[in-house]
């Protein structure tokens, strides 16, 4: 088991022949991900990285049976790319693209309510199931196989957490980078729920940051569902000045859940083991699970 992606996932890359798409597709293939092809409109029929290129996602799905798509399309066209993947029936859409206008994402979110696809991101590092499938831009070698799931808004902080988990003698089931944009496809709560329901995952690392109320929502869900698995949490931005990235009217709608302090307090109240320092995520997880750190 695992969540979202595994060794049987058939992965296509949208923006396959571009610089980013090519580089990361190659890395994914080397990791062992089952990349079955890619999409670049106008280049259909060509071969790239020994795999077929298609004009449309629908063509790729019909020919290869792809069920996961990774999107590297530039910001102005990324919303269109996500909707095309959903329309073609892709089950898991992972969008790496940073800088998509919020208005486009409002439309995407609305569009997806009529489809069965799960969207991860945008502005995220992707999803990796250790030793099975890497669908994203993360360094694969960091994620050794184990029993800890990770949910995180941030890229490098996910790698940091995974590395600490591995150094503390444990490993990773699936790491889900949900993305740092105001509107994302899969929330912290939804990602945590997937890992809670995954029999292989024994404990969860939940990494958030300032802004929005997703971590509080996830924390409350964890408590309401009986804290079935241990969760170690961290919120980045305890020292971030207020108002630099968020308008103050926005803070009203989000309620008082916006600051790192508030989120950490709510998480603690909900039974999550919250660390103040990002340097002790691995050590703390080992302690929580009663393991002796070498």
């Amino acid at each position: 088991m695992s969540v979202l992606v595994n060794k049987d996932s058939k992965v296509i890359v949208q923006g396959f022949t571009g610089k980013e798409g090519s580089f990361h597709a190659q890395q994914m293939i080397e990791y062992g991900t089952n990349v079955v092809g890619g999409v670049t409109p106008g280049k259909g029929g060509q071969t790239h990285l020994d795999r077929p290129v298609f004009n449309t996602v629908a063509d790729a799905v019909n020919t290869t049976g792809a069920n996961v798509s990774l999107i590297f399309v530039p910001p102005a066209f990324a919303a269109d790319g996500i909707m095309e993947a959903a329309d073609a029936g892709i089950g898991v859409i992972v969008c790496i693209t940073e800088g998509i206008p919020t208005k486009d994402m409002i439309a995407v979110k609305e569009y997806l309510t009529g489809h069965k696809s799960i969207l991860i991101g945008p502005n995220c590092p992707g999803v990796i199931t250790a030793d099975e499938a890497k669908v994203g831009i993360m360094p694969g070698f960091v994620f050794k196989k184990g029993k800890i799931g990770i949910v995180s808004k941030s890229g490098t902080l996910t790698y940091e957490a995974a590395d600490q988990i591995v150094k503390a003698g444990m490993g990773i089931t699936t790491a889900i980078g949900i993305g740092g944009d105001p509107i994302i496809g899969t929330t912290t709560k939804q990602a945590v729920e997937m890992l809670m329901n995954d029999p292989e995952t024994e404990a969860i690392v939940m990494i958030g940051e300032i802004g929005g109320g997703m971590e509080a929502e996830a924390a409350r869900w964890i408590k309401e569902n009986g804290n079935k698995k241990p969760v170690v949490g961290f919120i980045a931005g305890q020292t971030a000045p207020p108002g630099r990235r968020m308008g103050h009217a926005g803070a009203i709608v989000g309620g008082a859940d916006d600051t790192a302090e508030a989120k950490m307090r709510i998480m603690r109240e909900c039974g999550i083991t919250v660390v103040d320092s990002p340097a002790v995520i691995g050590k703390t997880m080992a302690e929580v699970l009663g393991k002796v750190v070498a």
């Binding site: 890395q27 910001p75 102005a76 800088g99 206008p101 919020t102 208005k103 994402m105 409002i106 439309a107 979110k109 609305e110 831009i137 993360m138 360094p139 070698f141 960091v142 995180s152 808004k153 941030s154 890229g155 490098t156 902080l157 996910t158 790698y159 940091e160 590395d163 600490q164 740092g180 105001p182 509107i183 990494i207 940051e209 802004g211 109320g213 997703m214 929502e217 961290f234 980045a236 931005g237 305890q238 020292t239 971030a240 000045p241 108002g243 630099r244 308008g247 103050h248 009217a249 926005g250 803070a251 009203i252 709608v253 989000g254 790192a260 103040d276 320092s277 990002p278 340097a279 002790v280």
Partner: protein, 398 residues
């Protein structure tokens, strides 16, 4: 991106939102000319001189003054242009006033009493839709209203499938206690306001106050307009409204190098790859007894040229007593980053503060050796905790 009140009003007006009219002035002389012209256009008996800076709460800091004669306009504009305006939002250092808006009086007497409302449009992140927030308590600090009398704040969510509907605009007008002409004008105001918000990819509108005049017009007396940075590429005319004078000079320079830098008040600078890890690194600095001097995300590439640019930006701040470099090398190799740091250090030649370099990931051990053998005043670390301890050590020696 933030824009000035006068620019925000210009945009609103172009979408049919009624505004308090005004003319921009950069000097006292221009202010007098503006006042004369505005009198011809609007027949206003007095003028409001409004400082144009990117900060709210201007009235509290002396940035909004009434002038009853042309001489008074000159005198008040003269005093305001060049002053450092301190408001609750500028911090103690304040903001230099470079221009003023000469605006018409809209609180004139008439058949009914003028009433101030609060209207804003913003994104509800959790729902993924826009929401119009409004209140009868206009002209006040809305956070205080939300805290003390939350029942006086109303929200109207906009369904992205169909956009704002007429019944919603009517509901807002009724909830604000309006009737007759004022109600009709509020419906038009809300409708035009939301059209503008949607059309220009705004990330926030705040109209405080939105005024019902004594003759039942509804007008925007102030306008805080923020635009979604990610959408600026499709609004070149609005992008051209950027006023770099209002931004921190070092932040502007950093942006030219594509470095995501935010200046803070602390004593330990930092250079990190990734926004989340950058915030986490700031937190580590604080937990180690220091205060972060900046946020800096160098992104995916950290070669010598880029490291040098980052160091130069960080060191422009005289408060910086040490720099913590924290790179998690995934795709980027740590030994390359280490060589970049050593090269940058040699190129600059005059770095007088201790540097702590934490490189973890691909080739971290080789990277540490490069740093340790460089002969430079640089402490190396691999584990994040080692870096935190090094910050403590450095602070003890400062």
């Amino acid at each position: 991106m933030n824009i000035h009140e006068y620019q925000g009003k210009e945009i609103l007006k172009s979408y049919g939102v009624a505004i308090q009219e005004g003319i921009l002035a950069h000097t006292a002389e221009e202010a007098v000319e503006a006042a004369k012209k505005l009198k011809e256009q609007t027949n206003t008996p007095v003028w409001i001189v409004k400082a144009q800076v990117h900060a709210g709460g201007r009235g509290k800091g002396g940035g909004v003054k009434v002038a009853t004669s042309l001489d008074a306009v000159k005198e008040k504009a003269e005093a305001m242009i060049g002053m450092t305006l301190v408001t609750p939002q500028t911090g103690p250092e304040g903001k230099l006033v470079r221009k003023v808006l000469i605006a018409q009086d809209v609180y004139y007497e008439g058949a009914s009493k003028p009433l101030e409302f609060y209207v804003s449009v913003l994104l509800d992140r959790a729902k993924g839709q826009n929401v119009i927030m409004y209140s009868t308590e206009g002209g006040m600090d809305i956070e205080e209203v939300a805290h003390n009398t939350p029942e006086k704040i109303f929200k109207e969510a906009i369904d992205p499938k169909v956009g704002l509907q007429a019944f919603q605009a009517r509901k807002i007008a009724f909830n604000l206690g309006l009737s007759g002409e004022a109600l009709k004008n509020m419906v038009k105001f809300i409708t035009s306001l939301y059209t503008a918000y949607d059309a220009i990819d705004a990330s926030q509108f705040e109209i405080n106050p939105a005024l019902k005049t004594s003759d039942d017009k509804i007008i925007a007396v102030d306008a805080k307009v923020n635009i979604d940075d990610n959408a600026l590429y499709r609004h070149p005319a609005i992008e051209a409204m950027r006023d770099k004078d209002e931004e921190d000079a070092t932040e502007v320079e950093a942006a030219e190098f594509n470095l995501n830098y935010v200046k803070l008040d602390g004593n330990i600078g930092c250079m990190v790859n990734g926004a989340g890890l950058a915030m986490a690194t700031m937190d580590i600095i604080k937990l180690s007894g220091g205060e972060p001097a900046n946020f800096l995300d160098v992104g995916g590439t950290a070669d010598a040229a880029r490291v040098e640019q980052a160091f130069r930006i960080i060191l422009k701040d005289p408060n910086v007593k040490a720099i913590l470099v924290n790179i998690f090398g995934g795709i980027v190799r740590c030994d390359r980053v280490a060589q970049g740091i050593v090269d940058a250090y040699h190129n600059m030649g005059n770095i007088n503060v201790p540097i702590i370099v934490r490189l973890q990931g691909t080739n971290a051990v080789e990277a540490k050796a490069i740093i340790d053998n460089s002969g430079l005043k640089v402490k190396s670390a691999i584990q994040l905790q080692e870096a935190a301890d090094a910050v403590k050590e450095v602070l003890a020696g400062v």
